[in-house]
Amino acid sequence: MLELDDSVPDEEWVSQLSPEEEARLVERLKKRDEAAFSQFVLVYQQRVYSLLARMLGNREEAKDVAQDVFLTVFKNIDSFRGDSKLSTWLYRVAVNHCKNKIKYLDRRNTRKHDVIDDTREGAVSDGGVIGGRPARPDEAAQGNELEQAVRTALASLDEEHRQLIVLRDLEGLAYEEIVTITGLPDGTVKSRLHRARAALKEAIEKGVGWKIAT
């Protein structure tokens, strides 16, 4: 029977698993423990979906790919050798699925890139707080404008650049994790990330028609 514990936070729980605990979880997943797999999905589905939505720029496609990612995990968990964290491996599976989907959609010329608008009222840098004080309306508006500009510019970047920015700056992954996920050498990740950020800045300036300056 599935035991649920309301007191334990979700992602925090998993991110703090000790290597031994993670190994036990993997063991249960390898045994195709249905309860463990269900909870694994519940813990990671939002992050995987969010990553895919930002990389694909299309919510429906992101949902489809996220389904495929978890099906792959269920089927191929035996191929996880424990060289990296389980979450890193999951991201790698997600990124590979995403690349395949992009290739497929590009071949069919059916790729749509919605600009995912997750702007909410009061959403400005640091959650509506600037320098420890609530943002003034003009600052909030400016922050939202920048956020929207970033979102639009991100959608216009090429896949490789967008992937690195999403992994590093939106998902907050460490360089070592990005190296594992992308299979690129450390130096390449750093130099490409630099180029990606520069391209993003340029795209923002081009898109909004103003120089980013204070």
Binding site: V43, Q67, D126, G127, E171
Partner: protein, 195 residues
């Protein structure tokens, strides 16, 4: 310690904005970049612009993390493996799950909840479809009983038990209400006939 002097051109400083932002430069290089930013208003303005872009990204990334827990529709914790939970609690002398609540030794950049979460209306629930698909593709081997699936935050058995209890309560209440009605007096004629 060796005080190695590194000199960088403007373009070389620009090339290092990204690594400088991430704290990936060596202490010597970081010192030189800091010095160049202090002496060149042009470079300082460019770096400030770069930082604003990074601020916009951080703001996107922080959506959801400042507003409470991720908008997931169910309780999210892995079910404890009874055997391993017992082992670990015996080893550490702690209750199972205690270790999960201890603060993680994560770098500062990762302690600020920098994972992206889409807003509440974007919460996804992939599990029901996944369970159905796995059930179907495995030829009924996995998730074969409905009890192995969950409804909302509760297992289906709990939902069934609660429903059953509610039905019994309704039945009892109806019986009680009908039992309160005064018994109708038999017609007087009928009594006389009986005698």
């Amino acid at each position: 310690m060796e005080d190695r002097h590194v000199s960088l051109s403007d373009d070389e400083v620009r090339e290092r904005f990204s690594a400088f932002h991430d704290g990936e430069l060596s202490p010597d290089e970081a010192k030189v970049v800091r010095g160049r930013l202090a002496e060149s208003p042009q470079l300082a303005a460019e770096f400030e612009a770069f930082e604003r872009v990074m601020g916009g990204l951080a703001s996107l990334a922080s959506h959801g993390s400042h507003d409470g827990p991720a908008p997931t529709p169910r309780t999210q914790s892995l079910p404890p493996d009874p055997k391993s939970a017992a082992e670990s609690s015996a080893k550490s002398g702690k209750e199972p799950g205690d270790a999960k609540r201890e603060p993680a030794a994560t770098p500062p950049s990762e302690q600020s909840g920098r994972h992206s979460v889409l807003p509440e209306d974007e919460a996804v629930d992939l599990l029901p479809d996944l369970q159905k698909t796995i059930h179907k593709r495995s030829g009924g081997k996995f998730y074969k009983t409905r009890a192995s699936r969950v409804i909302g935050t509760r297992p289906i058995e709990v939902v069934a038990a609660v429903t059953l209890v509610l039905l019994v309560l309704v039945y009892v209440m109806m019986s009680y209400v009908s039992g309160l009605r005064p018994a109708e007096a038999p017609p007087s004629g009928a009594v006389q006939t009986g005698r």
